[in-house]
Amino acid sequence: MAILSEEQVMLKDAASAWARERSPISAYRKLRNEGGAQGYDSRLFAEIAEMGWAGILAPEEHGGADFGFMSMGVVLEQLGRTLTPSPLVSSAAAIVGLRRAASTAQQELWLPKLVAGEAVMALAVDEGAQHNPLAVALKATKARSKWTLSGVKRPVLHGMGADAALVVARTAGAPGDVDGLTLFIVPTDAPKFSREALNEVERRGAAIYSFDGVEAGADVVVGEVGKAAAILDYVLDCARAGLAAEMLGSACEAFDMTLAYLKTRPQFGQLIGSFQALQHRASDLYAELELTRSAVEMALEALDANSADARELVSLAKAMTGDTFKRVAAEMIQLHGGIGMTDEHDAGLFYKRARAADMSYGSAAYHRERYAALTGH
């Protein structure tokens, strides 16, 4: 565990208590069973915002706490422990992006609302099976002073409950080009915009966004036209780091639950946790979780310090959490035996979460490749 400041320790304790009391795993299960499109509980998100957690990365002038990425990670890890569904990662990444690249007017319009939890912003980047930001094809064509957006975004994480989206569109060049990408803030009640909930193994509000000639004025362009690749990279890195922290929490909880089972399940006249083969697997997983924790902390620290190696460290964190969480979740099912395969047991929820989280904002493989490219391999 990083050496946390007193404030961070308080944040951690508060988030842990809130998650266990107000948003236990059973809350996600209930939401999933009900099948609602939004994929998170608005009242619970309002509580998250009330605690100030939606504003951790926002500047004080807009009601935020400006506590930094490590503090954000501390909160997200605790929420991850109980599989809390919330758009916190997307909204926080949007906040950070707006802070860096949006105009004063745009910041004044959106930041207070995002901090207060009155609005949620999603990131509309991906267009298909694999995460590939530069492959964006959704077109934004200019006619007189307005842009017209046409195309599809899929999946948009937390898209069903979002009031607006940071949309990545191509204003020039071809899919794959670094140049020619532009960021637009598009409200989800815009004419000619529609969305549909994705029916997936997880119900966290992932959506398909359809733009059939949605109009966007110059006032909703964030940053420079055609030059959004760099800010997009940064926004995505913030989302990746936040998600990695959440994944770490989920993986640790999965491990703890499995450990508890090993200590209580008897077979062959003894607790199964006394079998050396299982003990050694648990020890190996523990070591892996420690290594993964380091990777997450390094990324959060680098983002806080705005250091030159932040990008590769974010990829390191996302890749490691992806692999470790998938492995722990699979082991959780295995070590629980038959009951781990039942929907009634929580192991399945962790297993599905691990895979979905790995796919989000770039899988372990994607980030290993990115790390390789950034480090001269």
Partner: protein
């Protein structure tokens, strides 16, 4: 940097960096300290090493975090981390990570009586006495507590007869910290911790030749060796808990001794070539090199943060077992990758048909099998993690 918020530490870092730059002999740049630690004769003969060692000791850094009253530097873990980082930055190494400094010293600080502490600890901090570890026996490896080296009461001294194995540097050591059996009726309760002068009559050390060609591990034979009564630490039959504590320090030293090795990418590009994107040409090797690099990076950070989190040596805990395993896994993987990259040029034994760097990589690969065995095998570490960290039963 963890000290960017602390002006005193930041100043210490600047001063340390300046001092190290001014005092580290350039001829030692990039070298590993291991040969000097394991081969006392080499250490004594190397002028540059002796110069560096004396300077570090005279600076008060021979044992930076030990109490000043016993010859230590009286500094905090944070200071120690800074010293190591600034040394690593210019390709220097800390010259006094001896068996005395890493294992016996911290143990004596916790378990030694005042006479023992004042007699034995300062010479370790001043690098004046070389120690070796008399623990394992041919019949007592992983099951160390089953050791049989006998220690009987000879009146005003103890009399020791038996055999130790895997004793690093015994042939050049001045003293030995030794586990002996003082009661044959109780396995764990019959072990004592005894300090023995290697110049005593009846001791013979024989180097063991390993697959890597190294000879610093020795068999040590004790034939009715006399040791004064006051050199037993912690009291008769009280040695096992002391041994276990010392082993934690050993694990920690092995875990943190895995300095972040230089990246393999340049070697891979040199021997395997690059593709049209400038990447390592073989995608399979590239993938495994990247994986290892990522894990090594996370591991280096892990050692740093656990060092900072441990307020002092006392902070070393059972969790170090997991770290020792991570470290040995990553290092073994890297050693394997290096010779794989070298191809046939990774099979040289000695001579000028092979580059020195190639021969070094081959020896390192051969030696790397030991990482998951010495200091407690991977399996023993996993037993410890399971029982003492995870609280698993049985």
């Amino acid at each position: 940097m963890f000290d960017h918020a602390d002006p005193d530490l930041a100043r210490f870092r600047d001063d340390a960096a300046d001092w190290i730059k001014a005092n580290f002999p350039p001829a030692l740049t990039g070298k590993s300290p291991t040969p000097f630690i394991t081969d006392g004769a080499l250490a004594d003969a190397d002028q540059d090493y002796q110069t560096w060692l004396r300077r570090v000791v005279d600076k008060g850094w021979g044992a930076p975090t030990w109490p000043e009253e016993y010859g230590g530097g009286g500094l905090t873990q944070a200071h120690s981390v800074i010293i190591h980082e600034e040394m690593a930055r210019i390709g220097a190494f800390f010259p006094n990570h001896t068996y005395g400094e890493m294992m016996l010293g911290p143990t004596l600080l916790e378990y030694g009586d005042e006479v023992q502490k004042r007699r034995f600890i300062p010479p370790i901090a001043r690098a004046e006495v070389r120690w070796c570890q008399g623990f394992s026996e041919p019949g007592a490896g992983s099951d160390l507590a089953s050791l049989q080296t006998k220690c009987v009461d000879g009146g005003d001294h103890w009399i020791v007869t038996g055999q130790k194995i895997w004793t690093s540097g015994a042939n050049h050591a001045h003293w030995c910290f030794c586990l002996v059996r003082t009661d044959t009726s109780s396995k764990h309760g019959g072990i004592s911790f005894l300090l023995i002068d290697m110049k005593s009559p009846g001791i013979e050390a024989r180097p063991i030749y390993l697959i890597s060609g190294s000879t610093h591990f020795c068999e040590v034979f004790f034939n009715e060796v006399r040791a004064p009564k006051e050199n037993m630490v912690g009291g008769v039959n009280k040695g096992w808990p002391i041994a276990k504590r010392l082993l934690q320090f050993e694990r920690d030293s092995l875990a943190s001794g895995r300095a972040e090795a230089p990246p393999l990418a340049p070697l891979a590009k040199e021997y395997l070539g690059v593709n049209e994107l400038g990447q390592i040409a073989d995608p399979d090797v590239r993938h495994r090199v990247v994986r290892n690099a990522m894990r090594a990076r996370a591991y280096a950070y892990t050692m740093r943060r656990t060092a900072l989190e441990a307020k002092s040596n006392a902070g070393v805990s059972a969790a170090v077992s997991a770290l020792k395993n991570l470290g040995s896994d990553i290092a073994q993987e890297r050693a394997d990758l290096a010779v794989e990259i070298l191809g046939h040029s990774g099979l040289g034994w000695e001579g000028d048909q092979f580059a020195e760097a190639e021969l070094e990589a081959t020896r390192a690969w051969l030696h790397s099998r030991a990482y998951s065995i010495y200091g407690g095998s991977r399996e023993i570490q996993n037993n410890i993690t399971a029982k003492r960290v995870l609280g698993l039963p049985g």
